[in-house]
Amino acid sequence: MQAFIREYNLPFLFIAMVLGYELSIYFFLLYKKVKNNKLTLNKILLGYGFFFLSIVTSLLFSTLNTYYFSDSNYSNFLNILTILSLTVGIVLFLSILTSQEFITATNKLIIWILILFDLIPSILIFFYDINSISVQISTLSTSISIIYIFYVQYLLIKRSAGSIEKRLKLILLGEILVSFGLLLNREGAWFYPFLDNSILKIISLPPLLAGFGLLLISIYRFPAFYEFNWKDDLVKLYIIDRDSAKTIFSYDFKQQEQDQEDLIPQYDLESLKASERVLIGGLIGIDEIISEVTDSKTKKLDKIKQGDYVILLNYQEISSINFVFCLMAQNDTFSINHFLKSLTDQFFVFYKELIQEIKKLDLNPEQLFSSFNLIIKNQLA
């Protein structure tokens, strides 16, 4: 029975390890790729790389110890390496979180305390017996640090939007599964003393494999870390009545940043720069012109991009009024696209009935929709 368990446990443990090492390498390569870009949260890629490298190396030492070394001297040495490799990875991740970029999402004091609590028992195991209390303290401190790392990621999820948010949630779920699998693999006997150790190793495999698999799928070809500062990229929003080519609402995101103390920010359509007014009129025309030029009259223009600058266009028709939502931003990201869609939905949720009456009541649309800036502020909060 033991031989059977060993035979079927080992290949899948090695697959889990390979997956973990791949993830780690993938994060390092991603970091290298985006290193020169001006992205403030880049360093977290490095943190993830170290984190997974340490988890998997710890698992490797633990597996070698369980299955390949019976000599107690080697076994003790491998036990120390198992603990140390995990601690080093966590300490590196936490150190990265102390950098200036993460200051809004983390608490420096807590991180330094956690680093200290991780380091002290790890140093003590060199001087005391491997079965001493210092090992248990080390396991406890690394567990607390991992929980804190999860908490920081939860805060990052709250800062993201749309499909990026979903991906980040999947990454967190994958990490929780991996950590649970690792805990079962290493310390399963604490929780289930009635189960044989080899059975526990087998039970730890599904969460480990599922976790690493989920992580790989979540991060593959998806530089989510570009997206965290999407709110800073927003420039302007215009809502245009397509038929009259008039702007019925405008919102300057940059102006609002400077003017945050105003409850209801000033927006003055008259103050729109001449070039912008030309653009608004032009945007309506461009769509039709491009259709003519490209010989495709059915589809509408979705995106205009120059360098990093992007103009996103969303078209809606309600009560025979054609609206164009035009969002200008400094970067073309998933979150910006999601934000425009979300704003469009919000606009019609709030004003659907009024829009139906707008022609009958002869209301001034600029006054009517002016309160939409409160909704935008709420969306950005």
Binding site: V18, D287, K303, Q306, I311, M328
Partner: protein, 361 residues
Amino acid sequence: MLYQNIFPIQGPLRETLFILEWLVVFFALQWAVLFLIRIKTQKGSLKSLQEKAYIWLFLGYSLMWVFIIIADYNIVDPELRVYVLNIGFIIQVISVCIFVIIMERYKTFIRKSLFSVIFLSIAVLYFLVLLFFIDFGAIMSSFFWPIFFFFFILYLKELVDNSYIKRDVDNFKELFLRFFTGILFVGIGYQFTTRIIIATFGLEFRLIGDLLQILGLGFLSLFFFYIPSFSEYDWQQKIESLYVLHSSGSFMYKKQFQKEGSKLDDNLVTGILTGISMLIQNVSKERGTLILEKEGKTLIIYPGEFITGIIISELKLESLEILLGNFIQKLEISLYNLLRDWDGDLSLTNVIDQISRQFFT
């Protein structure tokens, strides 16, 4: 029954081989899943035939190895082992045929559907062998490999010749060398694990074969990680028309790649597009490639010093942006004085046409 003394595999190498072969299953399955994700995350028409083909190839390879492992490590009855083994080979033969058929839908290699016909013929032959001499099924399935390797060399040549993403990817030749090495290692490694080799040279060769396959799949991973979507290679089919206009907005050159094009006068088109370009540049305060996207159509406008290039295409492809940039830069370097002092003389059209052939044919 052949090889009944070797299988099921026992002895000191059993555990190592067992672990390595599950790793082969994992690596191949991983790439099938990752290609599936690539397709799922791409927009409708961007879905590349090549990526679909690779899903079949890797999935088939992975499943074949699952059946080989079951047969070679767990089945004592020789007759049953041969049946299980051949289920794996059948899966691989079918998946290779699908791979080649899809690839030949994407591109003609030597002659139309030549390799599809060859592979289907060998597949029919293989099924006949299975019906009458099932013991020789494993040997017969090995005949696919040399032809498959030849097909891959042609395919690789096509990829290298066709690619305009070279500038975007560092060490382009090295990258394709990785791909070639990967395929070579997987092919040789697989041959080392075949029954005839093990019977002649022993299980040590199977170990070497497994290691070579893992190494080969590693090389392939390094290639697939760096290479952009395969849809970038299909730029020739996606491009509709190319315009060159002077910075004053005057029309200089047009090349139509597809039958249908804009019915508007070329001078009008270039004038309009210059206006749009200036308008947007005024708002964005950026100078660089301007891209206008709508479902099914993309306009790429590259402003040079004296001239502007415009491509109208069905898809937004990075390779087209690079290609247009290279083309305009080449024109400006080659015709610097003529373009600087251009007075509307359309005799330059022939020269521009000659240079455009270097890039767009």
